[in-house]
Symmetry: C2
DNA sequence: TCTTGAAGCTATAGCTACTAGAGACATTAT
DNA sequence: ATAATGTCTCTAGTAGCTATAGCTTCAAGA
């Protein structure tokens, strides 16, 4: 049996976040001690680790709810898990592409070496989209 | 003079967002019509365009507050504008790097071709961080 | 056994940057 | 004049937590 603090240390999920997950129904409400404190089992630990890891990979809480659900049913086809992951991969790739365009634009505008704001490319570019090289 | 709807169309910023910016102090409260509706000048239009464009480049509202401030003082050195932009560029690059690692990991785990959840690499990897190739 | 300090409890509010909705009033076109 | 559209304020909701207040419980040392 782990206290919430021990669970937190083992998984790296902060205490208020664990309680938040419980509230959101991602983890079951665990048993309580006589004094009403949460007591977790190994099962609770691995479920939370699953969540933690999924969050690190950027899955949304809703996605995780689905994945957790699937993981409880080992006999089911894993097609659903794949489509969640594949969709997420796509999202990540879209975000990368977008950020790359931003990076290019930011690199360009930070290269200005003017002395004052009047001639500054940063300010000027922000004021006038027409000065941008790429679309965004 | 533009109504809020016209301003919205010209800048691409949604009406509630314009009001939100006003509330946040990013744009000045404009004059009102006799019937209490907002009426904007060209100045208001260009200020909002500046904000819109900065948001598109991913600057935070706080950053934009600083940049707008600087843009009002053309005689000032533009060092501050540069450091805001440079810091933002750095953030963007960090995010790109992180997303690339995610992308790699997601690509790897979505390549599984198991039939059911019990053998599914997606689920398995999420449950056990040790199966990951890269750190995150 | 008593005490003390750390850890845990609930409930509420705050964060970013908006977005949505309700219900009332203003403006514009016909 | 009337109807359709636009705008007003206010409140609450979104994701995924984080922080605070004021209280109770637990575990270890004297």
């Amino acid at each position: 049996m782990f206290s919430i603090g021990q669970l937190s240390k083992r998984t790296g999920v902060k205490i208020p976040t664990i309680r938040y997950y419980e509230q959101m129904g991602l983890i079951d409400a665990p048993e309580r001690s006589e004094g009403n404190q949460r007591r977790y089992t190994k099962d609770g630990l691995s479920r939370l680790s699953f969540i933690r890891h999924s969050r690190e990979l950027g899955f949304s809480v809703e996605d995780i709810r689905g994945l957790l659900n699937l993981s409880q049913h080992p006999e089911k086809p894993c097609h659903d898990a794949h489509s969640i992951a594949a969709q997420h991969l796509k999202d990540v790739q879209t975000r990368i592409a977008k950020l790359r365009r931003l990076e290019r634009e930011l690199k360009r505008i930070t290269q200005c070496d003017a002395d004052n704001v009047a001639d500054c490319a940063v300010i000027e570019t922000l004021a006038d989209h027409g000065l941008c090289e790429t679309e965004h």
